[in-house]
């Protein structure tokens, strides 16, 4: 890696960390729902979209970004609980294909509903004033205060989630449910209520990601689908049902994607003739995370941290 300025490499690491931690917020909920309830929930991305829309609307209504985010998280968690009780509960016992179809239908319903309420135009959500400036980390390296804040929130929530899962009774139930649902039920764990709670929490995490990414991404209909694909890559890499796997997978995907886009094209230009490199560089950089996923599946088909060994 000689020849790349150290500041640029450090900046890319921070960018990768930030992207990875935001992906973790989505992937942790997705992996718990899939691991514990055995439900493939494609509508997970819709909850993320809803979080961003709620945040944009409520931030404008209250005049405060922070109040908007907080209310959006509560509102989305509420929608999540409602969704679990009214729809998802009915598809637990069905096969995965039915679940995929049902939750795909939910994507269409959410997208169309959001379009009817808010219209097809993207909404405005901007970085809060107090974070809209760079912070000097090292001489010659200024880094966005807002992205540093995202990294902080990501680390905080990841730590909180680990404490919740490894140190509390609820966490024990969740872990039991993830590794053997039938046994957990037989042991008298109120699985049904745990499901609803997990779903509410995972919807809330979606909303945190949606609301906090809103100021740097487009708040618009269909925004959930793009990021959902990345979240699925993360849980395939990390292993289904494992929060630790989701964290490691998300950081791997975030850093590999960011570093690949920044460093691969110039690297190829040094090693290969320019006409080959200029085509191959961007192409490989854009599929790098899928190459990563293929490599992990080849070496460890269950993912890096499988729950059900």
């Amino acid at each position: 890696m000689s020849g790349f300025p150290a500041a640029l490499v450090l900046e890319q690491l921070l960018n990768g960390l930030q992207l990875g931690l935001m992906l973790f917020l989505l992937a942790s909920g997705l992996t718990l729902v899939l691991g514990i309830m055995d439900v493939v929930n494609l509508a997970h991305g819709s909850l993320y979209m809803l979080g961003a829309y709620f945040a944009a609307t409520l931030a404008r209504a209250t005049g405060s970004f922070w109040a908007g985010v907080a209310l959006a998280v509560l509102a989305t968690a509420g929608v999540g609980v409602l969704l679990e009780v009214s729809v998802l509960r009915r598809v637990y016992a069905r096969d995965h294909l039915t679940q995929v179809l049902a939750t795909f239908a939910l994507i269409l319903v959410f997208n169309e509903g959001v379009r009817m309420i808010w219209g097809p135009q993207a909404l405005l959500l901007t970085v809060p004033q107090e974070l809209a400036r760079p912070v000097r980390l090292l001489p010659g390296l200024g880094y966005s205060a807002y992205r540093l804040f995202l990294i902080g929130v990501g680390i905080g929530l990841a730590a909180g989630l680990f404490l919740l899962i490894h140190r509390t009774r609820l966490g024990m139930w969740v872990r039991a449910g993830a590794s053997n649902r039938a046994m957990a039920q037989a042991m008298g764990i109120p699985i049904r209520r745990v499901f609803t709670l997990v779903f509410g929490v995972s919807a809330g995490l979606c909303a945190v990601a949606g609301a906090l990414l809103g100021p740097i991404l487009a708040v618009q209909v269909g925004m959930g689908e793009e990021i959902l694909i990345l979240a699925f890559v993360v849980i395939v890499v990390g292993g289904i049902g494992s929060v630790k796997g989701a964290l490691v997978g998300a950081l791997l995907v975030g850093i590999v994607d960011t570093a690949g886009r920044a460093l691969l094209p110039p690297l190829f230009l040094r090693l290969l003739p320019p006409e080959v490199a200029s085509n191959l560089g961007p192409a490989v950089a854009s599929i790098l995370i899928y190459l990563l996923m293929a490599a992990v599946l080849f070496l460890r088909p269950q993912g890096l941290f499988p729950v059900r060994a």
């Binding site: 640029l8 909404l123 760079p134 487009a218 793009e226 200029s278």
Partner: protein, 391 residues
């Protein structure tokens, strides 16, 4: 009389009443296929809303004939568009097709429309394929050829004397065309040319590269949500004040401004249309669009409005006789009044028009809009017309 006979009689009477009473003028049927859901929905909706507004202004008549508009959503998917167009041509027997936003969708259905000898009036998509050797008698474009807006911004960067530029676009045909168009007129040094994944969310890696390369200007073509993401992140990284960001009009129109907000103030962009272009058609269009739909119209909307004006002008010239196709085409090509003044067309069906420089500014009332700053090209055509063999 039994009940059954009576009911038959009622139906027969109803049919008689419903039948047209002899020599009523026939209806023009327009097949409007556009992207009305998903990420590109805002663009299709703008074109459709403005098309409908123009019809209302024309008294729901085109060239004196009553109009029926059949709308279909192509979901930005070439296959879905093909099915919809096929149904409209075969079953509904539409007289014209219009509405498509994306070039790849248009390229998938063009042949189908042309083979059935139906005119396609493009309110947006302007692929180079239909401008050169594959130009077609039945293709008319009231917007622009895909390269034009990028050519204008390349020319502007050249005029401004930026010695170095960093250029970016998504890795797909229109993205490559865009940067080719920019480089056709920009003669300075391109010190970075980056193609990113279509639909990419995070641009921090590219922005860090721009910062490290320190060019005199950045040109980025990112349609739709990708543009909103890129511009927000560019501003958030603090680069807006350090390195001027140049954009094609699509990436700096009312829809993007609405999503990005104040950080966009100051950005220069190129367009064939502007809110304050001074002519009666544009004044009426802008005022009524704002009043009717409660938002600022985009350049896409102006194109939807002009598509209806093109149909009206052509049909007027042939006295509403839909069979006089050569005359219809000639009338449209020779030019008519639009939201951007009188526009005439090349033999490949693409417009010859002015391209303007706009800048995003904050008005005294707090509204953030594009203002006209100058003219980059006068009567500019496209680079492919010499290869078109139509008369």
């Amino acid at each position: 009389m039994g009940n059954r006979t009576l009911s038959r009689l009622v139906i027969a009477l109803a049919l008689l009443v419903a039948l047209p009473a002899g020599a009523q003028p026939r209806t023009v049927r327009i097949g409007f296929v556009s992207t009305l859901s998903g990420g590109g929905a805002a663009l299709g909706q703008d074109v459709l809303d403005a098309f409908n507004l123009a019809l209302r202004h024309l008294g729901n008549r085109l060239g004196g004939l009553p109009v029926e508009v059949l709308v279909a959503d192509d979901q930005q998917n070439p296959d879905v568009a093909r099915t919809a167009v096929e149904r409209m041509l075969r079953r509904d027997r539409v007289d014209f097709v219009t509405g498509i936003i994306f070039s790849n969708v248009l390229l998938a259905v063009g042949d189908l429309v042309f083979q059935s000898q139906t005119f396609y009036i493009s309110p947006n998509a302007g692929p180079s394929e239909y401008a050169g050797e594959q130009c077609n008698f039945y293709f008319l474009n009231v917007a622009w050829q895909n390269d034009n807006m990028h050519e204008a911004m390349g020319h502007y960067a050249q005029l401004k004397g930026y010695e170095t530029a960093f250029i970016l676009a998504p890795n797909y045909p229109a993205g490559r065309d865009a940067l080719t168009g920019f480089k056709r007129f920009y003669k300075g040094r391109v010190i970075g040319e980056v193609y990113t994944r279509l639909g990419q969310l995070d641009y921090s890696a590219e922005i860090a590269q721009i910062r490290a390369a320190a060019p005199k200007a950045v040109y980025a073509f990112y349609p739709g949500a990708m543009g909103v993401n890129f511009i927000k992140q560019y501003a958030e990284a603090g680069l807006m004040q350090q390195i001027p960001l140049l954009l094609p009009g699509f990436s700096a129109d009312a829809d993007v401004i609405r999503a990005v907000g104040r950080p966009m103030v100051g950005v220069f962009n190129s367009s064939h249309w502007a809110l304050e272009l001074f002519n009666p058609i544009n004044r009426r269009f802008v005022e009524d669009f704002r009043r009717t739909y409660n938002r600022i119209p985009t350049l896409y909307a102006s194109q939807g409005y002009d598509a209806a004006l093109a149909l009206d002008h052509g049909l007027r010239a042939v006295g509403g006789d839909l069979s006089r196709k050569a005359e219809f085409r000639r009338a449209v090509l020779s030019g008519f009044e639009t939201t951007r003044g009188r526009v005439r067309f090349n033999r490949n069906g693409y417009p010859i028009q002015n391209y303007y420089l706009r800048q995003v500014v904050e008005m005294p009332n707090g509204e953030i809009v594009n203002r006209l700053r100058g003219t980059i090209f006068r009567n500019h055509g496209d680079a492919y017309v010499s290869r078109c063999r139509l008369p």
